[in-house]
């Protein structure tokens, strides 16, 4: 048994930011992460993080309200407006704080933090460090954690590297802690806590064509879901327009922000052919650009019916090396093309999970003492479509808010009721579950089920959706869940059994996938990232509402809740 006043699950940006906030309140905190924090997916973020600093020559008139408006409009009015405003209002402070901690942002000529234009934004407000923004932010935060771990008089931040959380324990609406497995030994342990913060990242690996790290399984969302916490707006999945053909490694939006072109097989900048992108061209929002690339490919103007070209050549070698060096490396290493001289083959791919664990504006979930922040959470600030550069911002702003909310709860006494037996029971239950998984002697291969899940999500629950194919996808996911019971295992040992972890995660993936498809099928409208060909219009009258999915003993149920539109009236979204 282990105890910390606060336990944070996840060592990405949201998790570490929450841990630092708790430490600043002198609360004892344990961070559990299935990989070393610096191997978290946040390290991959490339393009930048938004804040209305006004450092760019064209950014003088920017302010947090304009940033909030862009965010809400970008969300196709599904974002909760006070939540989005809180995000942008805290942005400047959070970026400045990162700089004070040592984050090596790129600089303007007068030595301030540099900013670049990004899609859907009225001003260039995306702060960056060449194309390694996630890398420098995560290193900076981890450096702060290391500082507190070793050199502080305050309570400790203890990191549990390579521990895998299997369940969260909630009794009578009060969170008691989590159960986690030490991956190296395979042993389960109780982690009792006054407060628990989920910061487990996105669920991209439910799809096959995704920019996400291999570890982004979505299991972190399944854990609270199984404990009765609803998942919100899961049908809203962002597809990034420019991912490398073949591996779907991201080519940052910064490529277009810096002036890159998208071209079809005739060498035309085809975004000019479409009403919704002809004005903003390459810096139109992601959902629009992804759809228009797909239309272009479907119209036979792509290459091998699969991709179009991203052209950076006119930027010149110097600018590419200065602003987009990692893009050049990735193109050379993974596609064998050098963007200084050649065209980059790109196609849209899954990129971001807008939905997630339902929280309010204070990062609180519906259970006392349970919080969520970052990509695994849905506040909601991104609504139906996230703007580039806003999710790194969300991890820092709402990571901090989650830490502070949890800290206040702990300092004011924490849970009224502690139940140690329930923790023991939960551990026993997980132990039984693992033994069952280890003993299963069926014939189905984990990799096959995963592949079939990825394929059906790519083909039926992608950029364009339609009632019949969504219904087919739902059948398929349920069939896979059934077949999951008949799994074959080759490794029956407990220590460092990655097959076992893959299996547990797959089970979570299947549940989260079912929620995504159910939500998409039920929502008979097109909004933001959801483009239903059978319901091509946004329908505010019936669908200006959040989807909430619950796990109940009789299966998954959908409910709906109101959207906060108290500041800006929903309008048609035009660029």
């Amino acid at each position: 048994m282990k105890f910390h006043n606060a336990i944070v699950i996840g060592g990405g940006l949201a998790g570490l930011r929450a841990a630092v906030a708790l430490n600043q309140m002198n609360v004892n905190v344990g961070v559990i992460s299935k990989v070393h924090p610096l191997r978290s997916h946040s390290i991959e973020a490339q393009g930048g993080i938004n804040a209305s600093l006004g450092n760019h020559v064209r950014g003088g008139h920017d302010d947090y309200k304009k940033h909030a408006f862009d965010t809400i409009k970008g969300s196709d009015y599904l974002a909760d407006q006070k939540a989005a405003t809180r995000l942008t209002q805290n942005a400047v402070e959070c970026i400045i704080e990162m700089e004070h901690w040592g984050c090596p942002f790129s600089r303007t000529e007068d030595g301030k933090i540099a900013q670049r234009p990004f899609g859907g934004a009225g001003f260039p407000r995306t702060c960056y460090a060449s194309d390694k923004t996630g890398h420098v932010l995560l290193h900076t935060l981890y450096e702060q954690v290391a500082k507190f771990e070793y050199h502080s008089e305050r309570e400790q931040i203890k990191i549990y590297n390579e521990w895998f959380v299997t369940s969260v324990v909630i009794i009578d609406g009060v969170c008691q802690g989590v159960i986690a497995m030490n991956i190296a030994t395979g042993e389960l342990e109780e982690f009792r806590a006054d407060a628990v913060i989920f910061a487990t990242g996105g669920a991209g690996r439910i799809y096959g064509k995704t920019t996400n790290a291999l570890i982004n399984s979505g299991y972190g969302m399944a854990i609270p879901f199984h404990a009765g916490i609803p998942l919100k707006d899961m049908e809203f999945i962002q597809f990034h327009p420019t991912t490398l053909y073949g591996t779907n490694i991201l080519m940052t939006e910064g490529c277009r922000g810096e002036g890159g072109f998208l071209e079809n097989n005739k060498g035309e900048r085809f975004l000019a052919f479409y009403d919704d992108s002809k004005k903003a061209m390459e810096v139109a929002p992601r959902d629009i650009v992804s759809r228009n690339i797909t239309k272009e490919i479907l119209a036979g103007r792509g290459f091998e019916d699969s991709y179009v070209h991203l052209d950076l050549r006119h930027l010149g070698e110097r600018r590419i090396m200065e602003r987009l060096p990692e893009i050049r490396n990735l193109s050379i290493n993974f596609a064998g093309v050098d963007p200084v001289h050649e065209l980059i083959p790109i196609q849209p791919g899954q990129h971001y999970t807008m939905g997630g664990i339902d929280t309010n504006i204070n990062a609180e979930t519906r259970a006392l003492g349970l919080y969520a922040a970052g990509e695994c959470a849905c506040v909601s600030v991104h609504g139906a479509n996230r703007l580039g550069g806003n999710s790194l911002l969300e991890t820092t702003v709402y990571g901090k808010i989650a830490g502070e909310s949890a800290g206040e709860y702990i300092l004011s006494g924490g849970p009224a009721k502690r139940d140690e037996n329930i923790m023991k029971d939960s551990l026993k239950k997980d132990e039984d579950k693992i033994n069952e998984l280890l003993q299963s002697s069926g014939s189905e291969k984990i990799a096959d089920i995963k592949k079939e899940l990825n394929d059906v999500m790519d083909s039926n629950v992608g950029i364009f959706r339609e009632g019949k194919s969504l219904a087919d996808a739902l059948d398929k996911v349920r069939e896979l869940k059934h077949r999951f019971k008949n799994l074959k295992v080759t490794n029956k040992e407990r220590n460092l059994n990655q097959e076992l972890i893959n299996k547990m995660e797959l089970q979570g993936n299947l549940d989260v996938a079912e929620v995504i498809v159910m939500g998409a099928l039920a929502r008979e409208e097109s909004r933001g990232s959801q483009a239903r060909t059978d319901f091509p219009k946004r329908n505010d009258e019936s669908w200006l509402k959040h989807t909430l999915a619950y796990c109940t003993p009789d299966g998954f149920k959908l409910e709906y809740s109101e959207v906060d539109v108290s500041i800006y009236e929903p309008k048609e979204r035009k660029y």
């Binding site: 990989v35 070393h36 610096l38 191997r39 978290s40 997916h41 390290i43 991959e44 970026i95 400045i96 700089e99 004070h100 901690w101 040592g102 090596p104 942002f105 790129s106 600089r107 303007t108 007068d110 030595g111 301030k112 933090i113 460090a129 390694k132 890398h135 420098v136 290193h139 450096e143 702060q144 290391a146 500082k147 771990e149 070793y150 050199h151 590297n161 190296a184 030994t185 790290a213 291999l214 570890i215 591996t247 490694i249 991201l250 990692e326 490396n329 990735l330 290493n333 993974f334 291969k445 990799a447 295992v489 080759t490 490794n491 040992e493 220590n495 460092l496 059994n497 990655q498 097959e499």
Partner: protein
Amino acid sequence: MDTRTYKIFRYDSSKNEKPKFRSFEIPVEKGMTVLEGLIYIQDNIDGSLAFRSSCRAGVCGSCAMHINGKYRLACETQIYSLKSKTVTIRPMAHLKVIKDLFVDLEPFWEKYKLIKPFLQPGEPPPERERIQTADDRLRLEGLIDCILCGACQASCTVCETHPEYLGPAILLKVNRFVEDSRDNAADERLEEVSGFNGVFRCHTIFNCQEVCPKELDPTGSIANLKRKIIKKKFGPAKLYK
């Protein structure tokens, strides 16, 4: 279909057995990476194989291993680029093997923490960002890019004979702060690495520079630190008169 033979180091520290190599025959195609081959084996042949991976894009530093004679990132290495029918893989050296290619990195992270790897500006921050000129920022290129994969430490022969030596990755990190115009603890940092297990342990063998998957130059960083320490001790170089 084209195939390759993977020869992989196998060892389980929880068992009382000797390490051994095991061979797996796997189908390969153009574009496939060494990491994808490992995943193929774990998925389809032997679920007990253990290795680390996360980003699959050469940026998180999880998958450094010894592949056909050289430390590389498995996810960034195309199988065809090895130009060999067999792919021989060992775990990183100088670290305890927990299982197969999965080593205990704790000693590495302990060293990382030892050097106070965080900005020490020495004065309270201004209201807005600290000003850093573009030129000052440029000095950090190649220093902030390290992904801490550990390939350089594993390839370093001094790390092998002197386990306490901080090693190239860690010293590069020290240099990252020494070179940062916003940091004000250079003297203390230089003092700390001037000791027995610091920069002067380095024999300038250049292994680290040769294997770095990010093409960084830890040897250069170490040389820079040495130069600064010597300069501090003996003052600026005087012309011989």
